[in-house]
Subunit: 266 residues, 3 copies
Amino acid sequence: MSMFELIPKLREASPLIHNITNVVVTNFTANGLYALGAAPVMAYAKEEVADMASIAGAVVLNIGTLSTEEVEAMVIAGKAANKKGVPVVLDPVGAGATSFRTESAQRILQEVDVTVIRGNAAEVASVAGENLVVKGVDGGAVSGDTQELAEKVSELFDCTVVITGEIDVIANEQGTNLVRNGHPIQTKVTGTGCLLSSVVGAFCAVEEDVLKATTVAVSVYGVAAEKAAQKTAELGPGSFQVEFLNELSKVSEADAAFSKVERVDE
Amino acid sequence: MSMFELIPKLREASPLIHNITNVVVTNFTANGLYALGAAPVMAYAKEEVADMASIAGAVVLNIGTLSTEEVEAMVIAGKAANKKGVPVVLDPVGAGATSFRTESAQRILQEVDVTVIRGNAAEVASVAGENLVVKGVDGGAVSGDTQELAEKVSELFDCTVVITGEIDVIANEQGTNLVRNGHPIQTKVTGTGCLLSSVVGAFCAVEEDVLKATTVAVSVYGVAAEKAAQKTAELGPGSFQVEFLNELSKVSEADAAFSKVERVDE
Amino acid sequence: MSMFELIPKLREASPLIHNITNVVVTNFTANGLYALGAAPVMAYAKEEVADMASIAGAVVLNIGTLSTEEVEAMVIAGKAANKKGVPVVLDPVGAGATSFRTESAQRILQEVDVTVIRGNAAEVASVAGENLVVKGVDGGAVSGDTQELAEKVSELFDCTVVITGEIDVIANEQGTNLVRNGHPIQTKVTGTGCLLSSVVGAFCAVEEDVLKATTVAVSVYGVAAEKAAQKTAELGPGSFQVEFLNELSKVSEADAAFSKVERVDE
């Protein structure tokens, strides 16, 4: 049986994914999670995030348009999730672009037991305290070896690290996978990284093996993007966004044929 | 003349609908109201909500991503609307999922004279103090008879109650209607319930008979959804969302032929 | 060489555009900027806006869903931009609809050296202290001569003024241009004005001649809208929004043929 068996498992469970995310991507994130088969909820108030996180299948913390108050809510939600054994995904959007973002991401990592960090190389390096230049929040380049970076940060924070880029790297103490799915047009549509972090949360909600769950999430997501990009090649990013939601709703076990995963730690 | 005569009436008046709504659905709500022919405005600051509510045709309060401050603004807006006779719609998103949501919805109902409550069965039961399990914010199942629930809550808060589900129930002291329009794909697109609450507000802005206004709103909305679902059946939820806006802009008096309304209190 | 030479210049530079904008249009704004070839970022927290504005190519301040705290962040961002010579665009959404909006826009203009004001006639008149009735935030009509209004406000605040409407007017001390591009369906899709303000910022980031930069921005934007409207004429506003993003990604120097700019101050 292929790893894509997790797709029907996710759809049957329809896990509640509690997102504390940025104002740019809320709608796209909710619709992407619905399309895939999960049940999204957004809740930000300190008065309720612990309650919501406690009944969720996963909690996703995204600092894309953070405020001090929102970071405090993220810490409360994260701690509540930790207490119940609910997986927590951190998306350190724009870490490195301002010290406020870098420090907020680091604060969350200090106070919450984060299951998965998902970002681009520059963001992940920034939360680890590397000094790298970040341009924008959806781009980001990094010098050095991305695989080494993922493995180092995984060890540092004792969690799974997903670094997305031309080739995606997923590393934790069990091993390291490369995923070669996806399409460049994803970098021209806002929220494609943020939604992936929430999709990672959704798969972690239905599979305890985090290396497997995150690898499937990244590959499934990339396969859906490839299909959407192919169908909208002549059209543009507006149509891609729409078709991508369609493809997320259709992706299935049979799409394992398009998965490009390589184990590289052995 | 059919009840759908309210469609051209709405388009001619183009009422200003003041929404205090959640961050997930703002864009979809504004575009949905524009498509139908209304004029949306979002305003949240305590310093201005009374001014905005006073010049609006309807005020829509949606607690989907509430905060204590936002609930205070909702109360201010609601009271200003009451003073001017502007109809107020409450969408108690996720009531029952956390006590903060349930209590906030109840606080609004205590301090504001709400014209219409629009939610799913579990949300409506929660604001009424029933003990029911809510899963997610767009789903929600309820035991017992939904018609009875709608009528009971309508009496309790002396307002019109719209409970949406497979069959929609609309009840106030004048009577109870069932509406059998709509399509299951609506549950896979975020904000379809929230936008309906705003559409209810738009029809209440142009028709004083609230039972008629809300019934037409629910039926028109469901007819547009059915048409969009039919046109995008092979595509998916991304395309449905786009086509649904198209259909809202095209829906007309002639579509009364597709309306499925049943009076059940007689 | 035509003024549309700025399109490839923008795409090559891919300037970072820092938006402090309203919750309704964040996604559409980010995707529109990406489609055109710029790099959007949204950052709102007082702790980081100065850092972000300092590294940006332009800063766009949009009061569509303002709060006192957000206005303070706008002032901080604007001052940081001024210090670095980064152009600042102000979109006074809904000025005139509530005194809070009018006064907030005026406060920003007092404390920040604004490069471009972009609004409809009623909004622009309101920030200038005229007494005009505003209905809604995307509409707005004004009595009197729009060209005179633009020139007067330009002189008053020593900046470039862009008033959009059936005919767009752009005025600063160097001259006044009229632009006759665009399509009426833009008024049925939320955020088309807001995104234009951000696109104005993107062109100002790559061209120091502000009259030229803003005129090209308005004309390019209008040409993309015309093409999208033509392709989706039978469909509706949902499809227009999607196709408009596609067209923004495709607009090129060759489209100068469709540009309708008239110099009127000579």
